[in-house]
Symmetry: C2
DNA sequence: TAGGTAACGCACTAGTTAGTTACTTACAAT
DNA sequence: ATTGTAAGTAACTAACTAGTGCGTTACCTA
């Protein structure tokens, strides 16, 4: 009956609720704007528990941030791009990156907040470094396979390509509010999103094709 | 002697000092993180003056933001790209955008902060809309001239191109802290900056060339 | 079933924070 | 020279904020 017993006290569940609430709050108003009391309330936990489990606001932010990055890196691995042709693999990656940002808007704001604070909340994370190395190797492999079969040109730096793939989706979405004012466009209509994705796939393909 | 008289009371000078201090503070720690007392102190002005001249923290942010955008739009116009060949004009724009971000790092953080707050501080700015329209027309003109002489392909959306030109520079710089942790690279060395700019010019050229 | 341990809650502190009140003082126009 | 007005100041306040001290209670294990 253990699984069905409604535990009044459940450390794991409380921790998870705090993390979820913190992710949402940090994403909504940034590290500086987030309020510990608000996170506690939304997590239906006592504020004391945040200090008990995580140490403090900044430590909580570190955990939220690392989780967010590990989550996208894991999702990328799950794509199994090495089973696809180089061309398909790259297009799949561009589409995935775009869709991930759309489905997880809090990821973008968390990353922005982390960088406003000069990345200091991520500095020690060896887990993230390992995951990132694997990711770069994955892209390098696609580029090498493509160059080998003659589809792609040689000499494309996988890190630069990664940055560009992220940039063309990320920038569009994170700056959509000021963009909408300046360019008097609806950035988020179905048509607009579709057009941007098509433009981005085109950009990346023209960049690597032989 | 008016010009050389050291006025103890000078509304314009005080306003300007407040604006400069606010720009720096908002850029450093965001709207939420900035402290009105700190801005007043750094401006060597009394906090009361901020409320007197600008109304409040958020109104001050609005002015800072609008100024920042108008500044880059003016600088772009000053490039006189219509005097260059389409190809040179576009490369000049890519180089300029990149260099502007490097020379005015506060611009990027201000824009990030504005978007974290869903662009609401910019919503009413007709001045910015006018300047942006002129900017889009400038890029459209380059693309049309290029297409006319056969250098560029047809059908490239100038707004999408603008977004991409901004994105590939902006993203690299704003996310350089988390990027440095993940990819174990120095984003800001002279070599790295030069390589990124070259990569970006290449990306844009491949995107538009016929 | 007894008791130790970890989960949890209340109420507080010490320091901040945006914004204001009530005042003084320089300056320019008359 | 006088004086109205705008520039400038200092000392508040009321609300907020991260973090904590200390006591209580549920749950697991021996």
């Amino acid at each position: 009956m253990k699984a069905t017993t409604r535990k009044i006290r459940d450390a794991d569940a409380t921790k998870a609720r705090i993390l979820a609430a913190a992710k949402s709050e940090f994403a909504r108003v940034g590290l500086g704007g987030a309020r510990v009391d608000e996170i506690a309330e939304r997590a239906q936990a006592n504020k004391r528990m945040i200090y008990h489990y995580f140490g403090g606001k900044e430590d909580l932010f570190k955990v939220v941030l690392e989780e967010a990055y590990l989550d996208i890196r894991n999702a990328e691995q799950a794509l199994a791009l090495d089973h696809l042709s180089p061309r398909e693999a790259l297009e799949t990656l561009v589409r995935f990156t775009w869709q991930y940002y759309l489905d997880n808007p809090e990821f973008i704001t968390l990353v922005n907040s982390a960088n406003l604070h000069r990345g200091r909340h991520l500095e020690g994370s060896e887990r993230l470094r390992v995951a990132s190395r694997r990711f770069v190797e994955m892209v390098r492999d696609i580029l090498e396979r493509g160059a080998g079969e003659g589809t792609f040109r040689t000499g494309v730096d996988p890190v630069q390509l990664n940055i560009t793939i992220a940039a063309i989706g990320y920038y569009y979405l994170t700056n959509r509010f000021t963009g909408a004012v300046m360019f008097e466009r609806d950035y988020m209509s179905e048509d607009a999103l579709e057009q941007r994705l098509a433009f981005n796939i085109d950009t990346v393909m023209r960049l690597v094709l032989a």
